[in-house]
């Protein structure tokens, strides 16, 4: 088990190392000292409790949007529409939260209702992509990407029209949720509870995928949908359920974004967390548990990017370069998967290893 995990992690780890070397070359070309730069990244991301909190806040939404890609991947679908589920989930949460809070219901009840609204909306959106795929043969990658664009447009339309707070003159947004119904921080930290949702969701998804019959069935379908159908598996139900859970995770992230961070929905709800989730899921090789360390890495890079600009006067695109390099080396490393394994010294009694999740 452990060894299998290590073997599966080997290629991504090598990819991260390779991208660090490539990025160092880029830094040298930009006239910066790579060691100093990596020192700053460390300082800004994981160097102190203060930095850790920044990193955790950045990691929280990606944990959930990463699941939006990683879960459908188990049944062989490539869904990249997390941004749409995120945005509409957040908008639905505001849409439900404002009137309920206005009725003076207990905050916890309002929060639960907002969470359900976010999950249901995001879930329905991605489930629709799954249904289009399952019943109409529409490529789910394309449909989910396009549905994300449509979702953002719908959100902008509503925020600038029907749901607009008339007092938001120069920056159209909905009315703000009252402070009482906002999600708080984890006690003793400046990290909102969305992080807990993300961690629990990743753990839950991992358990579902690898330790339940339902998850096993899904992986069988992911390996070969026709074989799954022949074996009598309810393929359509599996596809729709996994897509719903995936979208629900991203929708919940959207709810957290409005209920813990922004307080209202505006054009800024499209934070890009949904797209970062794609990168996270790829880095984690679609494993929900591996999403956790990956999101700590990506969150840390996000949190520390500013220091590179502030201290080294590097251009603002520097961190985007690192991300791009990371993504490319990762895609390239896929070809190494299965060809490299732990040195023989460490391999004690392992039969030929099938990489996890394949």
């Amino acid at each position: 088990m452990f060894e299998r995990a290590v073997t599966a992690a080997l290629a991504p780890l090598l990819a991260v190392l390779a991208s660090m070397v490539l990025f160092a070359a880029f830094l040298l070309a930009a006239g910066a000292d790579p060691f100093q730069a990596y020192g700053l990244i460390w300082l800004g991301a994981w160097g102190s409790w203060f930095s850790w909190q920044n990193t955790l806040v950045r990691a929280a939404p990606i944990l959930l949007t990463g699941l939006c890609m990683a879960l459908p991947a188990q049944i062989g679908l490539v869904v990249i529409g997390a941004e749409g589920a995120f945005v509409l989930g957040g908008l639905a949460a505001v849409g439900v939260g404002l009137p309920l809070a206005g009725l003076g219901l207990p905050p916890l009840l309002v929060q639960v209702a907002m969470g359900i609204a976010g999950i249901a909306t995001g879930g329905a959106l991605i489930a629709a992509c799954g249904a289009l795929r399952q019943f109409r043969g529409v490529n789910e990658t394309i449909s989910s990407l396009l549905i994300a664009y449509i979702s953002i447009a719908v959100m902008n339309q509503l925020v600038e029209g029907l749901m607009r707070d008339p007092a938001s003159l120069n920056r159209p947004s909905t009315r703000s949720l009252p402070d009482a119904v906002m999600l708080g921080n984890i006690p003793g930290t400046s990290v909102h509870v969305g992080l807990v949702f993300g961690l629990l969701a990743c753990l839950g998804a991992w358990f579902l995928v690898f330790h339940t019959r339902f998850g096993f069935a899904a992986r069988v379908v992911g390996g070969n949908a026709r074989a799954g159908r022949v074996a009598g598996l309810p393929v359509a139900r599996l596809v729709l359920s996994f897509c719903f859970l995936a979208g629900g995770a991203a929708g919940l992230a959207g709810m957290v974004e409005v209920a813990a961070v922004q307080g209202a929905a505006s054009a800024d709800l499209a934070t890009g967390a949904g797209y970062t989730g794609i990168l996270a899921a790829f880095l984690a090789r679609q494993n929900p548990l591996a999403l956790i360390p990956v999101c700590l890495l990506l969150g840390g890079l996000d949190a520390s990017g500013g220091l590179l600009q502030q201290r080294l006067d590097l251009p603002d695109a520097t961190m985007e370069v690192l991300r791009g390099v990371l993504f490319l080396t990762l895609l390239a490393s896929e070809s190494l998967q299965g060809r490299i394994s732990l040195p023989r010294l460490v391999r004690v009694r392992v039969a030929p290893v099938a990489a996890a999740g394949e």
Partner: protein, 367 residues
Amino acid sequence: MISTRLTRRAALVGAAATVTATAVRTARAAPYTVGFIYVGSRTDYGYNQAHAEGAAAVRKMPGVSVVEQAKVPETVACANAMETMIHLDGASLLFPTSFGYFDPYVLHAAKANKSVTFMHCGGLWKAGDPVNAHSYFGYIDEAVYVSGIVAGHMTKAKKFGFVAAKPIPQVLRNINAFTLAAQSVDPAITTSVIFTGDWFMPVREAEATNSLADQGVDVITCHVDSPKVVIETAAKRGLYTCGYHTDQSPLDPKGYLTGAEWNWPYLYPRWVAELKAGKTISNYIRGGFREGFVKSSPYNAIVPEAVRKQADAVRDQFKAGTFAIFKGPIKDNKGNIVIPAGTAMGEHDKVLEEMGYLVAGVTGSTS
């Protein structure tokens, strides 16, 4: 072995250590650190470059060090950037320069860091907000009005094109000021507006500019975060251009008539000096030509002397505080009277900040 008994000697040593530590901290904090946060690129020939030019002026001040961070979206990234500047760079003054940073990010950070001063650009502060948060904005429509006068004299087609981001009060006010200025030169002049929908949409801005050029306008101006694409595209089409935010004349040396610019390099060092000296400044700060918030780009060589004189005269009236752009009767482009005859609204009039109409002579819709 460690003694837990508090002796007089230990107390003295402890006190000395505390004093030294304080002294060291003060000594290390000696350069007054000012942080600037931008929503876009520092070299966008626009909104963010204007602020970065202000930051560059602050950087030249003795005893002041500047940290900058660009392309910070109006999300938790902004909170992150401010906290990092405060805790890791020791900043005591921050300039979060984008409108959407204020609520909730600046408000939260100001509550959590009471010893830090926040100077936010957008003019959003209201009573009840933290007193260490300030929000300023300028009446740049005054400078747009001056551009409109110059353009009104130079146009032959009598048709202007305006590429705008969103139909919000700040933008509508500029479109209206530009048009009213031109109509004060020749009442037949009209303006066609295209809204792109967002602040930074280079592709749509280029399409809009070309579309306006195809409609036969001969002067183009804009209100988007980065006017670079608009000015360059208009220059290629051989049109006159008027700039916005900062000086875009290098992009269009031939046709760039003048432009409405922010004057942050003038104001920022003054504010920093006052705050550094411990003076209090207002939380709600506004101003136009008179207060040094805005200026006009140098006139192009092709602008005749008579036109320059007329534009300068209007600018001088703004400086003296004797000129009102929005002076009734003004009709909107649907025929309704929006400012009745006999009413002159000064720049500080808050009613103007809720402007929801386009004046007669503007082709375009606010929704």
